[in-house]
Amino acid sequence: GESVGLHLPTLSVQEGDNSIINCAYSNSASDYFIWYKQESGKGPQFIIDIRSNMDKRQGQRVTVLLNKTVKHLSLQIAATQPGDSAVYFCAEIGADTGNQFYFGTGTSLTVIP
């Protein structure tokens, strides 16, 4: 199966600081990546996506960086807020994976007020 892993299972940051969540993937054929946020008792919520023809994409307070050379994805959250506390998953899909996304195991982000 595919290997989508996260470098750190937990991350604690001070409110107002920037957060960086990392994700490594192993399938060089993956061409579409998504970051999801999952709060307790809820389903994953879309944050931002990026296709393999891009290196960087920015949203509101979030930036995703894609390094295809080392197969690495990161999510940067600016001015982290208590409401950002959740588990964050990266997901990948490629032409050789059919219609299924492969999810990492997740990183739990805790924002300290």
């Binding site: 199966g1 989508v4 061409d31 579409y32 998504i34 999801y36 008792g41 809820k42 389903g43 994953p44 919520q45 879309f46 996506d49 998953f89 997901a91 899909i93 059919g98 219609n99 299924q100 996304f101 492969y102 999810f103 990492g104 195991t105 997740g106």
Partner: protein
């Protein structure tokens, strides 16, 4: 606009029983995917349906089956439940079609098998 809705929210079954989970996609979305999420792990793909046809199947036993209806809603059935089937079952919808695109998830059905 309503998001992806799933029912029931919680379910308790015993080993050997059968269960049916239901999902209504976002209006206008024609594709529905089912994922299983075990506590502490990321979601794992079970099925994808588009235009009422199965378009993908994950590494799950034949005890798992699904279907999609003309209104694009979907049901996931699990027969002969095992303790290991206890998980959060997530339904996700997307517009569908040939291009890969983001999934919108419902809040899931929490299944406990005793």
């Amino acid at each position: 606009d309503a998001g992806v809705t799933q029912s029931p929210t919680h379910l308790i079954k015993t080993r050997g029983q059968q269960v049916t989970l239901r999902c209504s996609p976002i209006s206008g979305h024609k594709s529905v995917s089912w994922y299983q999420q075990v506590l502490g792990q990321g979601p794992q793909f079970i099925f994808q349906y588009y235009e009422k046809e199965e378009r993908g199947r994950g590494n799950f036993p034949d005890r798992f089956s699904a279907r999609q209806f003309p209104n694009y809603s979907s049901e996931l059935n699990v027969n002969a439940l095992l303790l290991g089937d206890s998980a959060l079952y997530l339904c996700a919808s997307s517009r569908g079609g040939p291009s890969r695109e983001k999934l919108f998830f419902g809040s899931g059905t929490q299944l406990s098998v005793l």
